[in-house]
Symmetry: C2
Subunit: 220 residues, 2 copies
DNA sequence: TCTTCTTTGTGACTATTGTTACAAAGGCCT
DNA sequence: AGGCCTTTGTAACAATAGTCACAAAGAAGA
């Protein structure tokens, strides 16, 4: 566990300027690295720290009792997970699965400090509050998708989200993995992807999907 | 707009004991009444205050562009809505619909005060924080239902939730209304209810569903 | 009672999604 | 090249949910 440099922290969290808070974060926050694809938290595990993404990205998935999963949202640099905040505070086990989407660097803040800082530092309170807001919105987006959209549209939105996260127009993944994250079967995804290919909106290869630049406009 | 009595407020929010905070709430909070079935907030409207339920109950529904709706959760006395907190803070229009489920009494806290109190009163901060936590959990429950459950199970869970809210084992509602809140069609609900009746788990009448006492155990 | 409106029941049909089963193609290793 | 494993393609079929059409029952009022 290394320390983070003050300058790096300032750059990633520009909204935090309070030198006392920054000092505390550098002093007590531990830096952790996770390789791509590595599971960071699984349902049932207890959350011992609030993870702030420094570099890379984390994929947050909801899981049910049968082990099915559902993609919720990404955590990008400077962001943290509202669920970790609620789980810590209530000292309840995690309700979700978190996976490193790329090679990811994290600043872990011990749970007890989160509580303390919320009383002491206005900027930390604001950070937590804006996290809750952002995650709430994203949870509603995820809810809208499963409640109101059909699988073809959900798949297209998934592709767009993933492209934006990767800042690329090719996805290196398998149909099976997409199916898992949308909580459906591989055959359904293969079928729908084939339809998109027929419409010339994407091209399919083994372990790769090439997406047309104007894909998002096409979906409307 | 009336004032609320201090004693009533203390009873509904036992976790708030700070006399200064209580005084502020009595002084600046407005009391509002909504008849059963009355819409309190609709999507697109701006939220001008944080509503704390004093008496009755509020039903929170998510809506999509086409006007379809989805039941999320109830607000019971002493509770408030996380979405109103996020909407206010971001001064964005409401993303949800709120309907008085019974004759309901509300204490409305002006938005600006919420921000102010969060800095000033630890108990208000804790109240907001625990609201976020509770609503987050409930949103996840709603998400689980649409993502992982079939309509028959969603219907049964809906019946149980409604029964608990009403503290009764008969529901006075129409198939159409249930269908709306589960975002499906009336025929589907009529069909599934008929199956439950055949299994002798419920009895159907016009505008009423009688539910067996051991309904929840039967569903498993 | 007769009319009218709302609510419920149901059959038939369509659409979407999920499942089973198997073939074929692409990589990788020896 | 030959063998092995992963991934993708696809047909056929089942299950679930959504839609349409219309009948029948119940409630309310004239």
């Amino acid at each position: 566990m290394n320390e983070i440099e003050l300058s790096a922290l300032k750059q990633i969290l520009p909204e935090i300027t309070d030198p006392f808070l920054l000092e505390e974060m550098v002093k007590h926050g531990g830096v952790y690295y996770f390789e791509q694809g590595k599971t960071i938290t699984e349902p049932g595990q207890f959350v011992k720290m609030v993870p702030i993404v420094l570099d890379g990205a984390i994929k947050i998935l909801r899981m049910d009792e049968e082990g099915r999963e559902l993609f919720l949202y990404y955590l990008e640099p400077g962001e943290t997970c509202a669920l970790s905040l609620t789980c810590c505070s209530a000292s309840k086990p995690s309700e979700i699965k978190a996976v490193a989407e790329e090679h990811t660097k994290i600043l872990g803040i011990p749970v007890q400090l989160h509580e303390l800082w919320a009383d002491k530092f206005k900027q930390w309170k604001d950070f937590v509050s804006s996290t809750y807001q952002r995650r709430f919105q994203e949870l509603l987006v995820a809810l809208d998708a499963v409640a109101f959209k059909k699988m073809d549209e959900r798949l297209m939105r998934y592709i767009v989200t993933k492209m934006k996260q990767l800042k690329a127009n090719e996805l290196h993944t398998t149909h099976q993995e997409i199916a898992n994250e949308l909580s459906t079967s591989r055959e359904v995804i293969s079928r729908l992807l084939k339809q998109l290919e027929k419409k010339k909106w994407i091209e399919l290869g083994r372990n790769v999907i090439y997406v047309r630049d104007d894909f998002e406009e096409l979906m409307g």
